[in-house]
């Protein structure tokens, strides 16, 4: 994109902070993992049957979870992309809730709703992963579906295509890239899933991610953990590479159509189908959350508020809540700032800094557990012995949130026509004034959404925290995990109360984000 800022040297300065942060705290630790794992004589570990089983289980449960997610997300996307219905905004927010829930909360919720004989099973993991991803996947596909001009469907119909043939010959090919991208993200998230597997899988259902933690923190086999981490990174990077290459030559995506394809539900058949799909999806989204809330007030089969009172009076737990909130504020500020700088440098640099987009994807590809492991093995000697440093945990959280923060801001920034900036310039505004009065005013809602998402990521982050959180400075997910690992119904109820707190926070965040998005689209439609 060519903008009026292209000639400004300031663009080069914008890119420095995100590049330095990623190079020092992501690339260096990953490089260290690779170098260290190749130095050790632990390659034989990969030949052991136990590890082969872990790799195989990680792969197939991710594939099945991805398939299940698509099976639920596609019909849901069909309804949300093609129809207008009552309480659509509320429904969309509720369906999006699972993805923003901390992974440990999802694990805890399914621990509560599934019968005991389903705990520690592959089915439990697949169901929880499907729950976690279906709303987000549906939103990704819906966003692309809404971009398909409704008159394309009309053209196909006048050429003799029945609804089924229209779907096969037109809709599916036009959605294929979005579906492939969504499937790739879901597969990666299932492959690197940590909190859900720690809670629901246990030692008998270990994935690569939990095995890395188990080896490093419980067996003391750091070299083995690094080798598995390197293997996981290679698998995910290869998958991204192959999928990106495969979808590179796809046709150009059309822009947002001027007329909406969402129509009111008219026929009885449409109403029944939409009501069924929306009801099932909404129930699927909220029942696990209601289950943890119920369990938090139900100890030893009787209703009591003891767990909630303990949560707000126990020094150990209140300290954890305080620490979590402090870390969240720092991580949110850092991630939003780095995301904003990255987005600006990509959007304004006329492709010179396009690689930053790839750099900021690294924390997703690498996984939080590998990032945590990489940080503790890299920053372990003076003067860089930062393993116990207070700033390390919020910094790691910020890096995990950075890919999301950047991707919330970038599309909004890229959609600003340069003619607006040119108009501002010819009216006498300097580039700085233009940025503040045009760009910043347009992206500030996206920046607030990015901040909200970053705060949620930080509050629920469990993978990197498992390595970096120190005694006395435990975050809420670590506290939940500790409470769950102790015997006693009252301690379990406290864990459920904390999980409910995290869920309430996530619910608030998703409503804030969606209300911003809806206000924006309402404004767009009036423009």
């Amino acid at each position: 994109m060519t903008t009026i800022y292209n000639r400004s040297q300031a663009i080069y300065w914008l890119a420095i902070a995100p590049i330095v942060a990623i190079v020092i705290f992501v690339i260096a630790p990953v490089f260290n993992i690779f170098v260290s794992s190749l130095q050790f004589e632990s390659l034989n570990l990969l030949r052991t049957e136990a590890i082969r089983n872990v790799v195989w289980f990680t792969t197939w449960q991710s594939l099945v979870s991805t398939a299940f997610t698509l099976v639920i997300a596609l019909p849901l996307a069909f309804v949300t992309a093609n129809f207008k219905f009552k309480a659509q905004r509320l429904t969309t927010s509720l369906i999006s809730l699972p993805f923003i829930l901390p992974s440990i909360v999802v694990g805890v919720a399914f621990l509560q709703i599934l019968p005991n004989n389903f705990h520690r099973t592959a089915f439990a993991l697949i169901l929880a992963h499907t729950y976690f991803n279906f709303g987000f996947t549906s939103r990704l596909i819906t966003a692309r579906w809404l971009q398909i001009h409704p008159h394309l469907d009309d053209a196909a119909r006048t050429l003799g295509a029945s609804p089924f043939k229209l779907f096969i010959t037109l809709t599916m090919p036009l959605l294929s890239k979005a579906i492939t991208n969504a499937a790739l993200i879901v597969f990666t998230l299932c492959f690197t899933s940590y909190g859900v597997v720690r809670v629901l899988g246990g030692p008998s259902r270990s994935t690569l991610e939990t095995e890395i933690y188990f080896r490093a923190m419980q067996l003391g086999d750091v070299s083995g953990a690094m080798l598995l981490s390197a293997l996981q990174i290679v698998i995910i990077v290869s998958l991204f590479f192959v999928t990106t290459r495969a979808s590179r030559n796809k046709f150009k995506q059309s822009t947002k159509p001027t007329i909406s394809r969402q129509k009111s539900l008219q026929t009885r058949k449409q109403k029944v189908i939409a009501a069924t799909i929306i009801s099932i999806a909404t129930l699927f989204a909220i029942v696990p959350v209601l289950a943890i809330a119920f369990k938090s007030i139900n100890t030893n089969s009787r209703f009591t508020t003891t767990a909630w009172r303990t949560v707000f009076t126990s020094p150990e737990i209140t300290q954890s809540i305080t620490k979590t909130l402090i870390y969240a504020v720092i991580a949110m500020s850092l991630a939003t700032l780095l995301g904003l700088l990255s987005a600006c440098s990509v959007a304004y640099s006329n492709n010179n800094f396009h690689f930053i987009s790839g750099l900021t994807t690294l924390p997703i590809v690498i996984s939080a557990v590998s990032l945590g492991l990489g940080i503790i093995i890299t920053f372990d000697t003076q003067p860089f012995d930062w393993r116990g440093a207070q700033f390390m945990l919020p910094l790691a959280h910020a890096l995990v949130a950075l890919p999301l923060a950047m991707r919330v801001i970038l599309p909004v920034l890229q959609a600003i026509p340069d003619s607006l900036r040119q108009a501002s310039s010819v009216l006498g505004a300097s580039p700085r004034q233009t940025w503040l009065n045009i760009d910043f005013k347009i992206i500030r809602r996206a920046a607030i959404s990015a901040a909200a998402i970053s705060a949620t990521v930080s509050i629920g982050e469990f993978g990197a925290s498992s390595f970096l959180a120190r005694r006395g400075a435990e975050t809420l997910p670590i506290m939940i995990s500790r409470l769950l690992s102790r015997p006693g119904d009252s301690l379990q109820s406290q864990a459920f109360a904390l999980a409910t707190l995290l869920a309430i926070f996530s619910l608030i965040v998703i409503f804030v984000i969606d209300s911003f998005a809806n206000t924006k689209s309402a404004r767009d439609s009036h423009a």
Partner: protein, 210 residues
């Protein structure tokens, strides 16, 4: 023959028009004019089966098609903004209706070449449609509609947005093509000169409402 009898259309809770009647004979080219927002496009969409009418009936060659779905009507339509399928090449766009009808590939290929040569675009058969000029895209849209051999072809302001020179050339080519093939056409336009140049009869939408 297309017969529209006392049709009323309610669109977005307001009545666009009531009791509209129109008959188009076989092989006839009729142009329909009217101011913007008078409901010309909506009328075409109702005839094509893309929107429902509130009252009245539509008959095609004696058959009542009022409640028939669009894909079963065999009424073709060229949209104002072409609506070429972006994932298909020029040839594949033109062949779309043949593929839907499972026409054998060899026959379909021959037909596509024949129709593309009629619109002068045989050399672009493998081109992606996103790289076409405005005039080329319009010709592809016409070829795609004609290859299905529709009983009636609906043209929704097909030459809007083209520059004057291209507009004149395409208007001439389109007129020749439709007459040579004997296609029954309802052409909607706000341009009275364009309507007179292409049609056997020019009607004003407001005159059709009783």
């Amino acid at each position: 023959m297309l017969e529209i009898d006392k049709v009323s259309i309610i669109y977005d809770s307001s009545q666009l028009f009531a009791n509209l009647s129109l008959t188009i004979k076989h092989h006839e080219i009729v142009a329909l004019t009217g101011p913007s927002g008078s409901g010309k496009t909506t009328l075409l969409r109702c005839i094509a089966g893309l929107e429902s009418i509130s009252t009245g009936s539509i008959h095609l060659n004696g058959h009542d098609i009022t409640d028939q779905p669009a894909h079963l009507r065999n009424i073709g339509m060229v949209f104002q903004d072409n609506q070429l399928f972006p994932h298909l090449t020029v040839g594949q766009n033109v062949a779309y209706s043949l593929k839907i009808k499972r026409t054998p590939k060899k026959i379909a290929d021959n037909k596509v070449r024949e129709v593309l040569s009629l619109v002068g675009l045989n050399h672009l058969i493998d081109r992606t449609v996103t790289n076409l000029s405005g005039g080329e895209a319009k010709r592809v849209a016409v070829a795609r509609a004609l290859i299905a051999e529709p009983q009636v072809l609906l043209l929704d302001e097909p030459l809007t947005g083209l520059d004057i020179e291209l507009h004149g050339r395409l208007l001439e080519d389109l007129g020749k093509l439709l007459r040579t093939r004997g296609t029954t056409v309802l052409h909607v336009t706000h341009d009275k000169a364009e309507a007179s140049a292409i049609a056997d009869r020019v009607l004003d939408l407001r005159q059709l409402i009783s």
